[in-house]
């Protein structure tokens, strides 16, 4: 009896960022509100928004510019399809409720655990949604090359502005065979976090390491003090291995930079290039060091990533550190966030970086109203609304109304005040800084062809964790790269 796997997308992490809140944004908010209706006469500083003709140009560092006039979107109806379900799905619905009320549209959100399969079935079967957002930007070009998507250029987006707001790296992910952009960055998540047991750190006087060597030294110190420093857990059903590949990718982007990283996942360098081997071996310095891993490195692939943080909460703690994205707090026991805090992944070879994932919008229906709606959504104001249940009190529209869910910003102009939790205030700032400096990169596994990124790279890493030599693992993955 064939029910489809509900495995869904595991390994998505959400990270909140803080953005800078420019004074001009307040003005932008007024202009945006003004443009919500038909031609308006509210005057503002910079004297832009008298009528809709001529659009809402912004001053420096502002929100996305609409090239051409603001389109009246009231009455537009469509379904937005995405992966988030549960509380995160409710937050999307909450966001849309606010938008619908504000603009007179009638947009519904539908989420599915089985998103990757469903979107493919719908598109191939001829019944795609009007708009969808995907956690896997690699699939965007697949649909675009078949002619199913509408390009951002065709909808009148200002590409240069988007690249400035969301980072060129993310925008480039949506460039397909014809050179046009088909993916619109919306909200990211952040993975480069290390969680630690704060009371023990305080007790033993451990300092938070900022370099890789510092991390290794700290781990050794913990071993000497009788602790197991690290908890790992790679098991994740048919996605087993992804936490490990995240480690390697975080190391790689710091060792070799975003450009090499791009070459790596685009297969402009072979998978078994020496740089990859170096990154893997660097990880091995930590992973295979004696006593560093609770339960032993060879067992890590059998420990569920959801169970992995648990020993941190035992008395005495079974381990003291664990690398994982911000969603891991969902697996903490009650009150866990009071005990376990995070620090950012350290620099490697002196370089910093930021790795994460995110949801990118694809548009199936060519409609200027939809284009306008999306331009709204990626603007700083609406991202601020989506950011937290209340919009932090600074969002002009309020918030999603759904407790416990916060969305990190895909637009560097979103203020960290949009967030309610300290965690996300900090993280949103990290992200907006990374977006602004174009050092934010995507999880490579999501960008490589799925045979590799969600297949042999994961299984290869699992083999490596059980003792297969580095070079052999990398050679196998390289051999599996599809030739077409």
């Amino acid at each position: 009896m064939a029910t489809f796997a509900v495995a869904g997308v595991e390994g998505r992490m959400r990270l909140m960022k803080k953005g800078r809140w420019l004074a001009v944004l307040a003005i932008m908010a007024m202009i945006a509100a003004a443009c919500g209706g038909t031609g308006t006469t509210t005057t503002t500083a910079g004297g832009g928004a008298t009528t809709t003709a001529g659009g809402a140009t912004t001053t420096a560092g502002g929100t996305t510019t609409t090239a051409g006039s603001m389109v009246d979107v009231s009455g537009t109806e469509f379904t937005l399809f995405g992966a988030p379900t549960g509380a995160e799905g409710d937050a999307m619905t909450g966001f849309l409720n606010v938008y619908n009320e504000n603009k007179g549209t009638n947009i519904t959100y539908v989420g599915s655990d089985d998103f990757e399969n469903q979107i493919q079935i719908r598109v191939e079967g001829g019944d795609p949604p009007a708009v969808a957002f995907t956690p896997q930007p690699g699939t965007i070009c697949k649909f675009a090359d078949e002619g199913k998507l509408v390009s951002l250029e065709d909808l009148g987006f200002d590409i240069a502005q988007l690249e400035s707001d969301s980072g060129k790296f993310w925008m480039d992910l949506g460039i397909c065979a014809d050179g046009k952009h088909y993916g619109l960055p919306w909200f990211p998540n952040y993975k480069s976090l290390i969680w630690y047991v704060e009371p023990v750190f305080k007790d033993k006087g451990y300092e938070i390491p900022t370099t890789w060597q510092g991390l290794l030294d700290l781990s050794q110190k913990m071993v000497d003090d009788g602790y197991a420093p690290w908890c790992f857990g790679f098991e994740s059903g048919n996605a087993t291995g992804w936490p490990g590949t995240d480690w390697v990718e975080d190391i790689y982007v710091r060792q070799d930079g975003a450009d090499m990283y791009g070459k790596w996942f685009r297969h402009e360098i072979p998978f078994n290039d020496p740089s990859v081997a170096t990154a893997l071996n660097t990880f091995g310095d930590l992973f295979f060091a004696p006593g560093f891993v609770l339960g032993g490195a060879e067992n890590v692939a059998s420990i569920s990533f959801k169970d992995a943080p648990l020993p941190m909460f035992d008395t005495p703690p079974g381990c003291l550190m664990h690398k994982q994205g911000s969603f891991v707090t969902n697996f903490f026991p009650a009150g866990g966030e009071d005990i376990v805090k995070f620090f950012p992944f350290p620099t490697v070879d002196g370089n910093t970086g930021a790795m994460g994932g995110g949801d990118t919008v694809m548009i199936f229906k060519n409609d200027p109203k939809i284009g306008q709606i999306l331009k709204d959504w990626v603007s700083a104001d609406w991202e601020c609304t989506l950011a937290s249940p209340s919009g932090g009190g600074v969002s002009p529209y309020g918030g999603t109304g759904v407790a416990g869910v916060e969305r990190l910003p895909g637009n560097k102009n979103v203020s960290s005040d949009c967030y309610e939790t300290d965690t996300n205030k900090t993280l949103s700032k990290v992200i907006t800084d990374a977006l602004a400096s174009n050092t934010f990169v995507f999880d490579a596994s999501d960008l490589m062809p799925p045979e590799v990124g969600q297949g042999t790279w994961w299984t290869g890493l699992v083999d490596w964790s059980k003792g297969t030599p580095t070079q052999q693992v990398l050679d196998t993955v390289e051999a599996s790269w599809p030739s077409s």
Partner: protein, 385 residues
Amino acid sequence: MVTPTLMEPERPGGRPPDTVGEGRAPALLLYLIRLLASLLIPVFTVVVLVVSFNYLRNQNANRLLQVFIAIVVGVVGVWVLYWGMDRFVGVLPERFRAGIRPFIFAGPAAVILTVYLVYPAVNTVIISFMSRNSKEFVGLQNYIDVFTTHDTLVSIRNSILWVVIVPVIVVAIGLGFATLADKLGRRSESVSKSLIFLPMAVSFVGASVVWGFVYSFRPEGFGNQIGILNALVSALGGSPINWLSIQPWNTAFLMVILIWTQVGFAMVILSSAIKSVPAEIIEAARIDGATELQLFWRVVLPSVTSTVIVVWTTVVITVWKLFDIVYVMTGGRDGTSVIAERMVTEFFKNFNFGAGAALAVILFIAVIPVLVINIRRFQAEEAIR
């Protein structure tokens, strides 16, 4: 002693009686009117079906009303359709009737099967000869790839193991349980059968949680064991075992899950069959002094052979198609992959339509021996009849 009484049977002829003394023309006219009238019934039914179909498409209509209408239309509508078609056939000249009737009876099934199964099957075969995005013809390349990739060969080997082992066990346990339960009193039988049937009612998501609680593995230091097996092992002093990682036993552990689910199916059907073995035969054998075991082997089993083969065939096909247990519990890791799971991975995860389709075609071919067995059996049965 009595044949079940039928209502007054229809006239064998069904033709309008020649009104004595009237000319041929009015008789012909009458015949045409009858023809038209009986044609009217299926046509009218189809119209009603279409109209209600359109009503039922409306998403905003009252749900309860829709359910009600759906049931009525679904049941009565289909029945009336058949009845109408049959009336129509009854009006035809006698010599056509016997030839056309089978098509009336089997026709709707054939149409539906063609649209929903034959067309996709043909489509699958076609794209198995095309490239990964189904744009270019590549001939046998996909099949060559399938048979030269180590992972796929592993999955073929595993699938064969599954097919050889699981159906036999399922049938054996199902038959055994049905026989034993038959000896119990009405209430005990009902309860025990329900317990065996319960796993079928647990949806697959529930089953994966259930067996997660059996096979769960946590290394020492990671907290209490929440899986039964490892809890037993720990209690007996051993260290926890990663059940689903040990080859080749992990495949056996996965087989247990499918067996657990399918025995209910086998049991229900075999139980019906056992109960239709005429009691006189059993009685006669008992009088002749047969023991329970002999009774089973010599009397009951031969009578239910055809049903046993039906159940076995069905479970075989289910096993060939099995993928979700492997996909969700291990993702095909550690040597557990099976053909159908690879097919889904290639098709939906790797977007390699050609390879996925080739694996599906392999499944089609693999089922042929089982079909041959069945055909032979039908022929043998009819010879006896």
